[in-house]
Symmetry: D2
Subunit: 361 residues, 4 copies
């Protein structure tokens, strides 16, 4: 292992790194102190976006084989965990920008026109790699997102629209969930039974509840009708995907199985992964929401440089640009542990480790 | 100063405090481990709500005199700062609840029915004291918020609807902003002139910009039309309050003055206060937004115990239950420092300290 | 499932909870505004301490069986994770107390004398349950920690000194680590070989490095001597426990095995657990460190009410009251993956799952 | 205001920024996934260090005039506040590095040898600009800090040793505190009287306290002896600076005055500034402390690449490299508000604003 005498400064290219902050206000001989922060914070965002893409690529790669080895599942989980920690930082980082007042921003805002964070190619790549589809994107000023991307980056961004996204790979992985069906056990059928029996028992309880007046009783029962309908859609053959759900029924089936039996050793990591997807999604939502509030605070209801309101765009995107809401939504379909179908011994055994950790003979 | 030998345990009533956690699941002989967390976290929330109310009361009291002394403004600011730090904690605290999975919550959820965080009297009191009006509240299941309050607390909650709220007191305080008009200076008139001249100059720039094609030019000019309209409303005699704005024109006038000249010594604390109101508002928004995501993650699209969807209520309230959006929105109306009307010497002098801190002769 | 109509207010005992804040300054007819915060924040700390003890008890219970089932390991991990999230909150919560100035604290400080956070029984119980030994505790003013505990709580606190602590249980669990020795494989011997061969190769590289001058070479080689010595102690029969290390050699052996082969499916959760112990430990260290800084800021070098300096005690305890530093310290003994002894197929197979998650053929 | 059509990508030099991450492991044809994170996080740190230096320079510049105008004090405070927010981020950012395990770090650690964060020139510049003196620095492996700085940066770093530091400027500013002495009032003398009378009264109370046994009484009185001694040093002519304190007596006098009367309008911003200096200091302490724990977790007690233990260096620096501990320590010398010397009307009047905000006639 030969190596030259590397220094921190050279290793990290510090000199080049610190030469990339060019204030537009200074170029116009009207230097505004706060522009530096504006540059530094955005460059820091882009560095972290690069890291997120780097981790996403490795995760997508690990998921792209025909099957995902358990060993790799651990790696995937630790890398998504890293993305999650970065996302938390991205959100916290906004507090630094909040030390800039609208008046101070206004001083140099015009010099940047029409540059806008909306043009970040890396952020669009992240969205595409996660699985945000073109048709689900909020339009900005009636234009597609890629109309705002610099020509030099447009092709790279567009290419990521067609690559297999994390969403698609998770879907396939869920569809491959084992144990769902054997000669003696069909999870789907058993679960349907368990669900309806639980609902019937609840309705029965309500009808026999002498503390309820007629109104409350009717309202409660109506409530259960809607629950039943929900489950009917879940179990019906052509229920998925539909206009609200992107996952196939098979994938949802797998995910519910993992959720319900996640205490079994072999399902603990898969369950962790599903939780992470929800968390990642919600952190992007938090990010957009905080971003939107910040934009509103900085420029109010002013129309943005592109002729449209950035605040309103961000606000809409906050709730619409989620990727894994199908998985978040699974809580709708779970029933308490004590009402779950009992797994046959054979499957139960497969879900455990053949070796009980710590037991020594 | 005579005192008995007080101990930590007695001072804080630790024994009583630690005896207030009664798990419903345990009462039903079906103890579920995670219910303890559910109790502890909500009790902790209520302790902090008490502290927020305590600080709010003191702030409202300081603002209720005919005028607010500078000395007290400093106190008000430090107490709002405390509320803000508490709000940040309330938001962070949700991460602890996120360690509970939907499956674990489901285990004891039915035992709590129909108790719900929606019934927190203290939270409603906070909203009322801040200035959330009954008519601006999102209804929950077509009922008023106070239909969900325990009978024992209803009167206290309702009373706070009629008390002078922080919003009302801030409004009056802003209306009293001095310096706006003297024999030789009328801020409102000067500002109107400055605004229109800035807009005219921008439009002129656009029309002379040879890099713009016809389309871009028309769109930019249309954009400025809308800006102009916005300002027209601001300056028109009967512009405020309107369906979007609760503040009076006079109060907005005062707030804009503070915003524009906030570098002047005497306006620094008032400006800090306005920033805090915005931050407090946005933190409640963050809180509701994170709360709504958590509710969705925990129970999915399930209909809540009250027969309605808590998730949807929270989601709506997130954007609608703001109090000080009029102040946040002021960024819409500011223009760059170098275009501000110059203050007459007399006013400029009043805004400074007679004593320049530092050099002593 | 019959139940009365429970409300939020009754469920959480809100009325009692909110009646437990009795300001001493008020009792002395000298009400000081900031005392309320002092009470609320400490009560909130005690609520969270109760939750930590509750989780610790359940974890200790799960670890107390002769062996820990994999299924339970997942539960243990999720509960330690909860403790970790609570610890983060405890640290963040200090920011709220920092909104109180030393002047404001001084206003009511004398009324509380000699009550002190040092008297928190629950905090001592946590330390004991984690495994802090009496002999490792920093004395405060030459007295034992329990001299400060209220008589009513002393016995409970002392009892927890003798219970099996988390540290002891983890030690036993590590000593039971399987796979370390079979007829054909002795991990300890193989690892010793690998370590020394790696060291020899490094020394060789240094001696052949023509870019190094004589001085640098000697210093590098001396450095490796100290590394070698370190490992000699590790492998020597009577190396552990010693005055620096509480763990037995057998437990350390098990922990290193987990660390080195933690990518193997069956070792992923054990590895996660070890990481959590380190994190938990470091968060307590952070907590004490921040607490000590806060105490210094609040009362300076003033001698505390007990006649000794709280600041200095906290400062010492920060670095000495760690529990799992043996585990943190394990990084000292790891070598790169590509130099690890190769596991025999039989063991490798046992460490995997018999079922490869995903595609099934 | 003419400008070319600037884009986000060009404005921020994104292409260059994203080309600066060169993995050493990749150069050795042995690419290790986690090295990317190591590069990105350090580059992000350096970006933020640049921003901190930029703000520090502007603050030092504002303080370098003969006096600091009130208007500028507001600017200084908002910029220190920005530094504080950045420091919080730097600390949080470590959580991302904690997602790297010691095993993964070990994989590429040797490739970086002997590059080390210890060589960051910008961090040393920050320390120098804050006011850390060469003689107060912990030596690393018996060498001065600048022996580790890259030749290309050494001169710049050394130069900052001799520039006026923030500490020196704050000292001068405090020494200029007005109001301390007038023909009719000498704060120092009045304060000395007040202090001793408060102490005498306390001792008297103790001696008359019938609940105290002889031992407790003696110990309490001894305690007050030490307090008295402390104050004697404060008031003695040649008390400062001494081996523990860098501030002059005159500066400490000014700072105590600000602390004691900080409710007066004109002292609110100065008091805020003092609080910020303490917070900035303590955040650096937190940063070093967390950094030291991280180093220990990553490499254990291993000797670092420079032949010395980074962990131990960081640990020592944590408590020794503070700058403003003289100011933190001021809490030692304050007495309750109700025992403060009353300010003469003339001074009281000067400390207020001539205009009472909001009062309108």
């Amino acid at each position: 292992m030969k190596k030259k005498n590397i220094t921190y400064t050279k290793y990290l290219n510090i000199d080049k790194l610190l030469s990339l902050q060019k204030m537009e206000s200074e170029k116009h001989n009207d230097k505004k102190h706060d522009e530096m922060l504006f540059i530094i914070i955005h460059q820091s965002y882009e560095l972290w976006f690069k890291q997120i893409i780097y981790e996403l690529d490795s995760i997508i790669n690990l998921f792209s084989s025909n099957y995902v080895q358990e060993q790799n599942l651990g790696i995937v989980i630790s890398r998504i965990n890293r993305i999650i920690e970065i996302q938390k930082l991205l959100i916290n980082q906004m507090s630094i920008l909040e030390t800039m007042t609208p008046m101070d921003f206004l001083e140099f805002r015009n010099y940047l026109n029409p540059a806008s964070g909306f043009q970040s190619a890396q952020f669009r790549i992240i969205e595409n790699k996660l699985g945000l589809r073109l048709e689900d994107r909020i339009k900005f000023d009636n234009k597609n997102y890629d109309d705002y991307i610099d020509a030099s980056e447009k092709k790279i961004v567009n290419n990521t629209e067609n690559d297999l996204s994390l969403f698609e790979l998770i879907k396939k992985w869920l569809e491959r969930t084992p144990f769902l069906q054997s000669s003696e056990f069909n999870f789907w059928i058993e679960y349907e039974k368990a669900v309806y029996s639980a609902i019937e028992r609840d309705i029965n309880d309500i009808q026999n509840n002498k503390n309820l007046n007629e109104d409350a009783m009717q309202s409660s029962i109506k409530h259960y009708d809607s629950i039943k309908n929900n489950f009917k859609k879940l179990f019906s053959k052509n229920g998925f995907p539909n206009d609200k759900n992107r996952l196939s029924q098979k994938a949802i089936l797998g995910a519910i199985f993992i959720l319900l039996y996640r205490d079994e050793p072999i399902l603990q990591l898969p369950h962790k992964l599903l939780s992470q997807l929800i968390e990642m999604d919600q952190l992007w939502t938090n990010w957009r929401s905080k971003h939107s509030l910040l934009a509103f605070r900085m420029i109010g209801a002013k129309i943005g440089t592109g002729g449209s309101s950035g605040y309103k765009y961000l606000n809409k995107a906050t709730s619409k640009h989620t990727i894994f809401s199908d998985i978040t939504n699974l809580s709708t379909y779970i029933i308490p542990r004590n009402e779950l179908p009992k797994l046959p011994d054979e499957i139960k055994h497969q879900l455990g480790f053949y070796f009980t950790y710590g037991e020594k003979k």
